[in-house]
Symmetry: C2
Subunit: 345 residues, 2 copies
C-alpha cells in the first residue's frame, strides 16, 4: 500500500494505492456522509458500501450533465445535507467528475473523497482535482479544479471491469509513461501477459508509478498554466475523435497518441526507434484502431477542444519516451498533418 | 478614491471605492472580455460600456438560476471565449452573483471583475467572493467562494437607483455598522438628511468604511468557518421573511436585525440603550416594517437557511453597537422568541 500526497498552493490530497476499498470506513466522518455512485457499481459492490444514504445515477456520459447535478442537489437538500456534509463518490471518471463538481458548489463547497473503480480514473481522472459536466457536445465545459480529501485506488475492483473499459484505462497509463516515465513504459512493454491478466501486485505498482508522476505535475501546476499541459499528450486529436464518434476515452486518446508520436517524428522531435516503440506498444495492447474524420471537419472538431487560445494550440510532442515538448502552433498545421497522414496510420 | 485590498489564503482582490466606473477601461485586458449585465443597467449605462460583447439578463432574482448559467455558458462558447477569457459583471447583487459563479466554473474558472451598481452590492455583496444561484426556494444553494480580481464601487451610479432599492442597501450598511463599527453607525445616525439625498462624498466615506470592515473579516475567514459568521447578523430571521414573502433583501434583513437586537436584549447581551439606538435608526431610515409569519411555519423557514448544522444554529447577537457574540443555539429557542415577541415589535 502506498499513500501519495498532492500538495498544491491551497489544498492537499492523498491517493491511497493498493489498499482495500473497504478500509474506507475508517476514513469517513461518523455522520453527514452521502454516497454517490452509478447503477453498475451499486449492483456489484452496493451490499458492501458503508452504511450511509446512497444516490445512484445512470452509468456513462449521460450522467455528466447539469440536470443531473441539479437533481442530486435537490436530493442532498432533502436528505438534510448541510455545509458540514461529506460526499463520497464511488465509481469511475463520470461518477467522480459529477460528485466532485457537486461537492465543489453545493452550499459553496463541502468535503469530498472518491473510491476510484476504473483503471482510467485510478491512473488519471481521480488524481488532480479536475471535475465537471458536459454542455451539449463540449466536454467538461463547466467544472472546477478542487482536490478531493483522498482517493482510494484498489486494483481488486478492476477485476470486474469490462475488457474494453480496462484497455481504455491502459491507454491513459501508457500516456503517463510516454510523457513522464521510461521505466513505467518498460514495465508495461515487457509485462503484457501479466497486465492483461490484471495481476494485483503489478497493477498496484503501475498505478502507483502513474499517480506519483501525475501528483508531481499537479503539485507544481494545479491550474494547467504550464507544466500540466503535458497531460494532454494525445488529447488534441483524441478529443476530436471522441467528439466525432462516441468512443471510449482511452481508445480516442490512443489514436491521438499514435498521431502525436508520428507528428513528433515528422517534426524531428523523436527518432524512428522511439516513435516505433510507442506505436508497437499501442498495437500490443490492441489500442491502435483507425477512426477517419472527414478533412473538412477535423479543424472544427479540434477547436471544440476548450484548451485552445485563439487560433493557436498548445500541442504536446514527445521527444523520446518519458520526455515532452510543448509548442504553440496554428490549428492549420495540426489539421494539415492529419489530412496528409491519416491514411498511412 | 480608496483601494481596499482583500488577501485570503489563496487569492487577492481589490475594491476601488469612489472612483468613476468609466475608469474600468484601463483595468481590462485588450481582448477576450465579455460584459454580463441586466436589462435595466444596460438601458441606463449601456452606451458608455467599454467596447466588448454584452450579454444582458432579466433584472432580479429570476436570473439567479442554473438555466441562466447554462444559457450564458452557451453564449460564451459561441462568442469564442476560452480559458483566457475575462467576465466583467456590471450590475447589482444578482448580476455579480451569476457572473461570478459562471466565471468560477466556465472552463474550470476564468478571470472576472465587477462594476457594482447598487448600494447593497457596493457595501456587501460584491466584497467577499460569494457567488451562486438559487435552486427552487433555497437561495444560493449552488455557488462558489472566489474573489473577483477587482470591484468598482462608484457612488455616482447610485443616483439612478429606485428609492426602495437604495434603502434596501442602507440596511446592509447598517448591519455592517452594528456588527463592526460604532463610528460608521454614528455617521449614519447623524447624517440622515445628507445620506437620503445620496451625497457623493458621504456615500464614498460610508461605503469605504463598510468595505474596509468586510475586507478585514473576509481576509481572516474566507470560508465562513468562524469570524465571517458575524456577517449573518439579522439574516436568520431575515432569510425566513425573505422566503415567506418576496421582500427586497435589505428590508428582510432590517426586520431580522430588529428581532436580533431585541433577542440580544432579552438574553442580557445588550442594554436597553443600545437596543433602542438600533431600533431607532432602522425607524429613521423607514426600514422597520412588520412581516408576520404564522407560528407553525417560522421553524421550517429558518431551517431552510442553509447555514444550519443539525438542529442548532449559529445565531449572531449584538453586545453593543459594533460588537457581536455568536452562540450555537437550538432552532426551537429562535422560534420561541419569534412567537412570543413578534406582536410587540
Amino acid at each position: 500500500m502506498e499513500k501519495i500526497a498532492i500538495n498544491t498552493k491551497c489544498s492537499s490530497s492523498e491517493v491511497h494505492v493498493g489498499v482495500s476499498w473497504q478500509s474506507i470506513r475508517g476514513l469517513l466522518p461518523e455522520k453527514g456522509v452521502i454516497i454517490i455512485t452509478d447503477n453498475n457499481i451499486k449492483r456489484i459492490y452496493g451490499d458492501k458500501f458503508p452504511d450511509f444514504p446512497v444516490i445512484s445515477v445512470k452509468p456513462g456520459e449521460v450522467s455528466k450533465k447539469l440536470e443531473v447535478v441539479e437533481s442530486l442537489t435537490e436530493q442532498l437538500l432533502d436528505l438534510g445535507i448541510d455545509r458540514t456534509g461529506f460526499i463520497l463518490g464511488i465509481g469511475g471518471g463520470v461518477v467522480c467528475d459529477v460528485a466532485g463538481f457537486l461537492a465543489s458548489i453545493y452550499m459553496r463547497g463541502i468535503r469530498c473523497a472518491y473510491v476510484s473503480t476504473s483503471l482510467l480514473s485510478q491512473v488519471d481522472a481521480s488524481t488532480g482535482g479536475k471535475n465537471g459536466v458536459n454542455i451539449g457536445s463540449t466536454k467538461n465545459l463547466l467544472g472546477c479544479i478542487r482536490q478531493p480529501e483522498f482517493v482510494i485506488c484498489d486494483p481488486e475492483m478492476l477485476m470486474t471491469l469490462p475488457e474494453e473499459e480496462y484497455f481504455s484505462g491502459m491507454a491513459e497509463l501508457l500516456k503517463t509513461a510516454i510523457i513522464g516515465s521510461e521505466k513505467l513504459f518498460e514495465v508495461i512493454e515487457v509485462n503484457r501477459e501479466v497486465l492483461i491478466k490484471r495481476n494485483h501486485d503489478l497493477l498496484s505498482l503501475v498505478i502507483s508509478m502513474a499517480v506519483n508522476f501525475k501528483a508531481s505535475v499537479v503539485s507544481e501546476d494545479e491550474r494547467e498554466d504550464g507544466l500540466r499541459r503535458i497531460l494532454n499528450f494525445g488529447h488534441t486529436y483524441g478529443h476530436a475523435f471522441e467528439l466525432y464518434k462516441s468512443l471510449r476515452h482511452g481508445y480516442a486518446v490512443a489514436a491521438g497518441m499514435a498521431l502525436a508520436a508520428d507528428f513528433s517524428f515528422a517534426r524531428g522531435h523523436i527518432n524512428g526507434v522511439g516513435r516505433d516503440r510507442i506505436l508497437n506498444v499501442l498495437k500490443t495492447y490492441k489500442l491502435l484502431r483507425r477512426y477517419d474524420i472527414p478533412d473538412n471537419q477535423i479543424g472544427q472538431l479540434i477547436l471544440h477542444d476548450k484548451k485552445k487560445t485563439g487560433d493557436d494550440i498548445y500541442f504536446v510532442f514527445t521527444t523520446g519516451i518519458g520526455k515532452t515538448l510543448i509548442e504553440k502552433i496554428p490549428v492549420s498545421e495540426i489539421v494539415e498533418f492529419y489530412v496528409k497522414n491519416k491514411s498511412v496510420m
